[in-house]
Symmetry: C2
Subunit: 338 residues, 2 copies
């Protein structure tokens, strides 16, 4: 199984030169003649030489790798953010190590602990089941820069890339009000996570400023933002017997689940209930009733988070970048005629 690999020693021996010469030739050092470099490269190719990057890493102290920790990769928001991260990393000649926390803080903590010895920097979107993400600080403590995107944690010493969630919520709710909706509900995410807090605040402030009342039943805190939980919410609404003019959802999948469940019960969207989601997942545009949503620019977020890690590696100070969200209006919230 384990084949003996050729090292620079083999090349050196074959050519009757020293390993340092080979090392220099391979890394295109100026003090080596072009002719020798060529011979070294030829022998390297002939011997099927493969540089052992582990040895390089040990020697140089750099790993040329960044770690990424997300709740799960199988969600368009995260996979396209990772796409952005990978694109940036590839440009810089870095590798990307991916981990899924599955929204479990325990799993996340284990991952983070193992990361410090393996990567030069970490990009993460935190698990949603706890407020204590202090373990990320152990990375910063040993000089590994951390960048949090989307879901951040104030207690973590890290650069951040976020969308202006508050503003996004304001835009969504204003739009619904403009469409003539008065009773507007909000499907919120677990309030342990800042983004969901901010969207709730944006919702509440906008309602109050418009002089619209927010009853006790107006805000629902979902266990997560999944389709299943959205369906559960819709059934809850249907059972309550009173439907609002509109619902602003903190996530597209919850909105999707609710929409399908409501439509199945004969409720018309947007005529009976208008809806706006958050994230602008690709699926929004494919639905029977295309879903209005607040775009978070996931790819860009990932790319910028990647850039920020490299900036920090180059010694630049820690910063927080806030991306302006954009409301994409589709059929699910258009009831101008009403």
């Amino acid at each position: 199984m384990t084949v003996k690999r050729t090292s620079i020693y083999d090349i050196a021996e074959r050519l009757g030169v020293s390993v340092s010469t080979v090392s220099r030739a391979l890394s295109d050092h100026p003090s080596i003649s072009a002719a020798l470099k060529e011979r070294v490269r030829a022998v390297a190719a002939e011997l099927n030489y493969i540089p052992n990057s582990v040895a390089v890493n040990l020697k140089t102290g750099r790993r040329r790798t960044i770690g990424v920790v997300v709740p799960g990769i199988n969600r368009s928001f995260f996979s396209s953010a990772i796409e952005g991260i990978e694109d940036k990393a590839y440009k810089e000649g870095y590798d990307v190590l991916i981990y899924q926390s599955k929204d479990s803080a325990e799993r996340e903590a284990r991952i983070v602990r193992s990361l410090a010895g393996k990567v030069d920097g970490v990009i993460a979107s935190i698990a949603a089941d706890t407020t204590d993400h202090a373990y990320y600080n152990s990375l910063t403590a040993v000089g590994v820069p951390v960048v949090l995107f989307d879901r951040t944690a104030p207690a973590v010493e890290a650069g951040t890339v976020t969308v202006d969630d508050y503003q996004g919520a304001v835009m969504a709710v204003r739009h619904l009000i403009d469409q003539g909706c008065r009773t507007i509900y909000h499907y919120a995410g677990p309030q342990v996570v800042d983004i969901w807090q901010n969207r709730l605040r944006g919702y509440l402030d906008t309602m109050h400023q418009a002089g619209l009342s927010v009853g006790d039943e107006a805000v629902f805190e979902g266990r997560n933002t999944s389709e299943a939980e959205g369906r559960r919410y819709a059934r809850h609404l249907l059972e309550s017997g009173r439907l609002p003019d509109a619902v602003f959802f903190t996530g597209d999948f919850a909105a999707l689940g609710a929409m399908l469940e409501l439509q199945q019960a004969g409720v018309r969207v947007p005529q009976d209930v208008a809806m706006v989601g958050f994230a602008n997942e690709p699926l929004c545009q494919w639905l029977a009733t295309p879903l209005s949503s607040v775009d978070q620019f996931s790819y860009k977020m990932g790319y910028m988070a990647g850039k920020m890690v490299f900036d920090r590696l180059k010694g630049e100070p820690q910063v927080g970048i806030v991306i302006a969200p954009e409301l994409v209006v589709r059929a699910s919230s258009l009831r101008a005629g009403q």
Copy 2:
């Protein structure tokens, strides 16, 4: 920036023992007393010790990492396959390095070349723009097992995990025939990739066996299986002036694009044109006309590909696993009434 990290030497010095003792204590070696282990661990924690896995890797020759190369991560099929791979790897205590070939053989070759020195095994789904993937063999040559999933290449020395594409196509076409369709077209993928060849064969064989004719215009070879390309195909169909009873698409996104384009032109699905896709992406069920599709069990594929790499690492022989596909029938192909 770069903080001096504590090594086992620091711990050893602090405790007045040797590094080997510390190393053994940390790895729970039986010959170290429980009391000493406890003291070592305490000091390690106090000094904020983080094992340098690079050094471990260099020493042991194993990297405890597997590399994954896919066309792109931002597609449900691949991201959920990766989810399966990561789950398996996590269980085995391995890390996962992700790369996107972007369907560029040149980029793929570069990635693969860099991989040999970094990982113990590789899992890949090959780029679609070439037939020559021989560079993967350089991995096998140095003892790095390769597992190809979904898109495989006969010239590559590798284990494989695939769905029975031929059978999947047969099921899809038979179903359309059962629904009363006679003129059935096929949207095929680039014929440089085996899966698309196999699906085309399944289509052709089934049509012939049913005694149905396959005209020149019946098979369309898309440049890829994207939504945009599906739309282009639909416009092409509309311009030709003659619509088939049904189209079997080799991918869900192409089917999606075609469906949206056709419906926009007033064509009814499935009454005018029935459709079946391939992959059973989540979006199939959310569409206005839910799309029938052949399920490929992407998560399972990824998980099994992961398992296969570890099996090969344990010395088991190279094998090819074929998963039985399953046809999921939805509204897009149901026209029993006709």
